[in-house]
Point group: C2
C-alpha cells in the first residue's frame, strides 16, 4: 500500500509471492534500497563510528584513513538526505561541522548489527565454500 515491491516484502515476511514477480519493482524495493545504501564502500564504517559519538568532518577523515574527501562528503551527504545522519554547522572560524546519528540511524543499527553478527559468525563457512569452488574451477 504505502510502497513498492510487495513481492519481496511478502517473501521475506514469510508470505506468498503472486507468481510472476512484476518487473520494475526491484528498483523501488525499499529493502534493496536500504541494502544498497548501506553496502557501499564506506557507509557501514561511518555508521559505526557515528554510533559511538558525534564526529567532525576531519575527525572522520582521519579516523577512516583511506577515504577520499570526495567519498567522505558524498557518503555523509547521502546518509543525511536519507535522514540517518544529522549535520550541524558551527559558524566558528575556521568553520566546524558535526555529524551525528539521528534516531532513525540509531534504529537501523539494531537489525544491521544482527546481520553483522551473522556475517562474522558464518564468515568461515563462506570462506570455506569459496575455497571449495575455487578448487573446482581448476
Amino acid at each position: 500500500m504505502a510502497t513498492g515491491n510487495t513481492g519481496v516484502r511478502a517473501g521475506l515476511g514469510g508470505h506468498r509471492l503472486p507468481q510472476p514477480v512484476p518487473a520494475g519493482e526491484y528498483e523501488n524495493c525499499p529493502v534493496t534500497d536500504v541494502l544498497r545504501r548501506v553496502s557501499d564502500k564506506w557507509t557501514l564504517l561511518l555508521l559505526t563510528l557515528l554510533d559511538r559519538r558525534p564526529h567532525r568532518f576531519n575527525e572522520l577523515h582521519r579516523a577512516v584513513d583511506g577515504i577520499s574527501q570526495r567519498m567522505l562528503t558524498r557518503s555523509l551527504r547521502t546518509l543525511e538526505s536519507d535522514g540517518l545522519v544529522e549535520r550541524e554547522v558551527f559558524p566558528t572560524s575556521p568553520p566546524s561541522v558535526e555529524y551525528r546519528l539521528t534516531p532513525l540511524g540509531v534504529s537501523l543499527l539494531e537489525p544491521l548489527s544482527a546481520l553483522a553478527g551473522w556475517a562474522v559468525g558464518h564468515h568461515p563457512e563462506i570462506a570455506a565454500a569459496r575455497r571449495r569452488s575455487a578448487r573446482e574451477r581448476v
Copy 2:
C-alpha cells in the same frame, strides 16, 4: 583472530575501535562482504524465491521477469560459490538443473528478514527525509 576488520566488528558489537581504523581492512570486512553480495540487483529476490522452495533455472527466469540469462546465471553462481545455494544437475534430456538454499542460506534469511522488516517499516521516514532534502536543494 580468524579474520579481518576487528574495527567494524567491534563497532557493530558495541565495543571500542582502536582509534584510527587501519586501511585495507574494509575490503576484507566480512560484514561489508556479505552486504555487497546481498545488495546487488537480483540476489535478494532470488533468495526469497528459493526460500519458498527449490526452483529450476527457467522457473527462476520466468518468475523474476526482467532478469537476463547472464545475470541470472551470474547471481546463482555467486550464491553457489558462497555456499548459500546448492545446484543439482539432473542428467535428463533436455537437462534440468535445480537450485535450492543450503542450511547456510536459510540461516542468512533470518537476520536479513529482520533488516528487511526495518526497511519496510521505516521506508516512509526515509522517503520523507529525501523529499525534504530535495526541496532544500532547490
